[in-house]
Point group: C2
Chain length 192, copies 2
C-alpha cells in the first residue's frame, strides 16, 4: 500500500467489483417470462430496502419492467456463470432463456415476475422510481421479499454467503469470491 504514480484516463464505468445478476421479468399473461443479465445494479437504500437496476430501452426486458413495475433480482452462483453470461448476450425476443439454460421459473411471492429456482437468493422488487440516465434507464425497486435456498441457511438461521459461492463482475470478467477479509466493524473491535 503506497502512494503510487497515476495515469489519468477519461471517465468510464470502472467501478468494480459490481454484482452480476439475473433479472426476472414478465407475468406469463401480457409478457412471457424472461431473464436479462444486469451488472449495472446496486443497493441504494436500507429503509425501505431498495436496489437499482439499469437497462437500455432497446432491450426486450425494458417494456415488461417499465410497464408492470415488477422484477426480481436473482444472485447466481459460480455453477450458473455460463447461463449468467449467455442471458446477457441472447435476446428474449427469440429465445426462452429459462428453457435454454434449464432454469426453473417460479412465480414470485409478492410480484408476478419469476424468480430463478436455482439461484441461491432472489429479491422480489416493485419499481418506486424511474430515472432516464442516457444510455440506460434506472429502475429503483423496493425489495418486498427475499427468497433463499433452504439448504444455504446455516444453524444460526442466517444465509451462508460463503457457501453460496456468489459471482462478482469486474472489468469485463466474472469472478467468484475469494477469502473473507473481515466483518463490518472488525477494525474497531480489534483495537478494543
Amino acid at each position: 500500500m503506497a502512494n503510487s504514480k497515476k495515469v489519468i484516463w477519461r471517465g468510464g464505468t470502472q467501478l468494480a467489483p459490481v454484482p452480476a445478476v439475473l433479472v426476472g421479468c414478465g407475468d406469463q399473461r401480457r409478457w412471457k417470462y424472461n431473464l436479462i443479465t444486469v451488472a449495472w445494479c446496486g443497493t441504494v437504500a436500507s429503509d425501505p430496502p431498495q436496489l437499482s437496476i439499469s437497462i437500455r430501452r432497446e432491450r426486450y426486458s425494458y417494456a415488461p419492467i417499465a410497464e408492470s413495475g415488477e422484477f426480481t433480482v436473482n444472485l447466481p452462483d459460480a455453477a450458473m456463470v455460463a447461463a449468467l453470461d449467455n442471458c446477457g448476450v441472447v435476446s428474449g425476443r427469440d429465445t426462452d432463456k429459462f428453457a435454454l439454460h434449464q432454469l426453473t421459473a417460479v412465480r414470485g411471492s409478492r410480484v408476478a415476475a419469476p424468480i430463478v429456482g436455482e439461484a441461491p437468493l432472489s429479491l422480489e422488487c416493485r419499481v418506486v422510481k424511474t430515472l432516464d440516465l442516457g444510455s440506460h434507464t434506472m429502475f429503483v425497486g423496493e425489495i418486498l421479499a427475499v427468497q433463499v435456498s433452504a439448504d444455504l441457511i446455516d444453524a444460526a438461521g442466517k444465509f451462508d454467503v460463503e457457501r453460496a459461492n456468489l459471482v462478482a463482475f469486474a472489468h469485463g470478467h466474472y469472478f467468484d469470491l475469494g477469502k473473507c477479509l473481515g466483518g463490518f466493524g472488525f477494525s474497531v473491535r480489534k483495537k478494543r
Copy 2:
C-alpha cells in the same frame, strides 16, 4: 445447480456482492478533505458513464457532497481493508481519516475532491441527479475522469484487475476476488 426449496424472508438489502469503496469529498476550503466508506453504490449508465452512491443525511460527508456536487470513488485493495472498514465507522467530524490511516489525499484532476493516492483506481465524479430514497440520499455522479496506478497497467495498456486485488462486500463481510470464471461473452464464443 438444482431448483431448491425456498424460504421467504421480508425484503432486505441482500444484493451481493456489492462494491465497498472509499468516497472522497471536501475541497480544503469550505470543507476539509474527508473519506467515507460506501457499499450502497453501483454503476448506473454507460454513456455518459455514471455511478451512484447513497449516503445517510446525518453523515458528516453528506453536506460537502450535496453542496459541492463533487466526490471521488476510490477502489481499495485488500491491503487497505482495515482502513476501508474504519472509515465507515469513525466520523470525519472529529477524525482526519487520511492522517489516521496514512492515506494520501491528492486533489482530483477534474474535481476539487481528493482521490486516495494509494487506491489502485479512482473515479472523479460530478453529481448530476439527487434522489431522496428514505434512509439514504442517492447521488448519481457522472464519471469525469479515472485515475489508475501506473504500476497496475499491463503491457496491453489495460488496468490489470486481477493484480489489483480489489475488495467486494457481501452480507456484512469483506472478500477479495477469487478465480476468474470467464470474460463477458465467453458462453457464446465457446459454442462457436
